[in-house]
Amino acid sequence: MSDGTMSGGTMSDWTSDELMTVNAARALAGARSCFVGIGLPSAAANLARRTIRPDLVLIYESGAVGAKPARLPLSIGDGELADTADAVVSVPEMFNYWLQAGRIDVGFLGAAQVDRFANINTTLVDRGQDRPPGRLPGAGGAPEIAANCGEVLIVLRHSTRNFVDRLDFVTSVGHGTGRGDRERLGLRGRGPVAVITDLGVMRPDPQTAELVLTDLHPGVTVDQARAATGWPLKTADHVAVTAPPTDAELAALRTLKAA
């Protein structure tokens, strides 16, 4: 199903990436400010600004506070981010005065691997004994975004390659080894509150902080989600079904991407 076109409850068709992005945008309904990584997080945050959260303050680690790009930037340093920002600050100021000080409500992260406690690996992947580990880009802003934002959203395609039993490298801490670990480590934000995929949404269990399946996108089954998860995925007592993308959401997303 991944990357395919699906048929929903409205007159529109949509791709699984669109489904994921729309649901990620919806997760920003209560946010005032969002620290935005490039790619899916940037698409989702910009979509939220055009739909449910017009006042959302987008913050890019390149130094743009309150960016209002008309089109999706390719990089976090595209000129339009600075041109449309309320304030442009230096990179050290961004990380020290804005991120570290806990001023930003939501950190929006992608990942290469996520484990059951929503810890993140973006550094390297093991490829067996005969080969050196596969090199990924590395940490970037993620460790401190995950530590210091009020809460964290993760957006990632659902597959056993991405959702693994054990990370090959802990780049950024989600809930560590379980509930209470963030406090023990002195991490100030609440950590990941949702992992939004192309199959549904996982959220940490209130008691254990282990990710459990809480929502499925229309037409997706629990078994599909379990099969795409590298640990025995638990489900919430009641698994909700996400609302299909509305025409307005899809139109806004496609306009953004086409611009």
Partner: protein
């Protein structure tokens, strides 16, 4: 290299690179997506300056090229990707396969790298941040440690200062005394420049007088060692007010860098056999 007045010298790019950057140096070429000094890196490749320790938060295509050219023995960084595109294939090939030579890594988070430059610019041996906690990063480098707050007892991360031998940046303008102004996303350039022993700035143009610009960062000529006029010297990155980011180039780089032969041919054609520095 400094004149008696201590102001920056105006040089050609090839002169400036030859005078400021030497085999074995620790070199920071900074610019956070914006104002990346590509032309200076190409001049380093042309001059074959090697055994470099390169420092940069986001190695980007500029260091992919220097690494692929075999000039780099160590990389100090925090995010090694082609922004918005994917992997840096020359960087991966060096790390995974040691081609064309092994690449030693000192790997950090952005917050850590930014603060390493801040400490360097401040003349301090280290900086403090709330970071790295619980990650595998700290265990793989000797430039992260901890300090305890003497007031609250809280344990915090300490990162070692970075003081490059040379920092290279690209800016929009300089005047004839070597005062430099850059604007737009100015990243960590002020800190990288002030942390370095020598500073080379390539600029879009040399003007009679710098006019203060909103968001402008000014580096006085007496903290700059040399200035070289290199219009377009940030391409495929950009200089706000002068050019836009060549996103197509970044996407086109992916297949070039995936293949060792294609990469080598590209460097030969577009760097080694191309025109040298622009005259001042």
């Amino acid at each position: 290299m400094r004149d008696d007045d201590g102001m920056a010298d105006i040089r050609t790019l090839s002169e400036a690179v030859a005078e400021l950057i030497h085999d074995g140096d620790c070199v920071a070429m900074e610019g956070f997506t914006h104002l990346i000094p590509f032309a200076a890196a190409h001049e380093v490749i042309r001059q074959g300056i090697t055994d470099l320790t390169l420092v940069r938060m986001t190695p980007d295509v500029i260091y992919d090229q220097l690494i692929g050219a075999g000039l780099v023995k160590k990389l100090i960084f925090s995010w090694g990707g082609n922004p918005g595109v994917g992997s840096l294939h020359r960087f991966r090939d060096a790390v995974e396969n040691g081609w064309p030579r092994p690449l030693e890594l000192d790997e950090h988070s952005h917050a850590g790298m930014a603060n390493r430059y801040v400490a360097g610019a401040s003349g301090l041996p280290f900086a403090v941040l709330r970071g790295y906690r619980g990650t595998d990063l700290a265990g793989r480098t000797d430039t992260v440690a901890t300090v305890r707050c003497p007031f609250t007892g809280e344990e915090l991360a300490a990162v070692k200062a970075i003081n490059p031998d040379v920092t290279v940046i690209h800016a929009q303008q300089a005047d004839r005394e070597g005062n430099v102004q850059l604007w737009g996303l100015t990243g960590v350039q002020k800190e990288a420049a002030l942390a370095a022993r020598r500073v080379l700035v390539t600029v879009e143009e040399i003007v009679e007088e710098l006019t203060p610009h909103p968001g402008g960062v000014v580096l006085p000529g007496w903290v700059v060692t040399a200035v070289a006029r290199v219009p377009g010297g940030a391409h495929p990155s950009y200089a706000a007010g002068y050019s836009v980011r060549d996103n197509d180039f970044y996407q086109a780089w992916d297949p070039i860098a995936r293949d060792r032969d294609r990469f080598t041919a590209w460097i030969r054609e577009h760097v080694l056999d191309s025109e040298g520095a622009t005259a001042p």
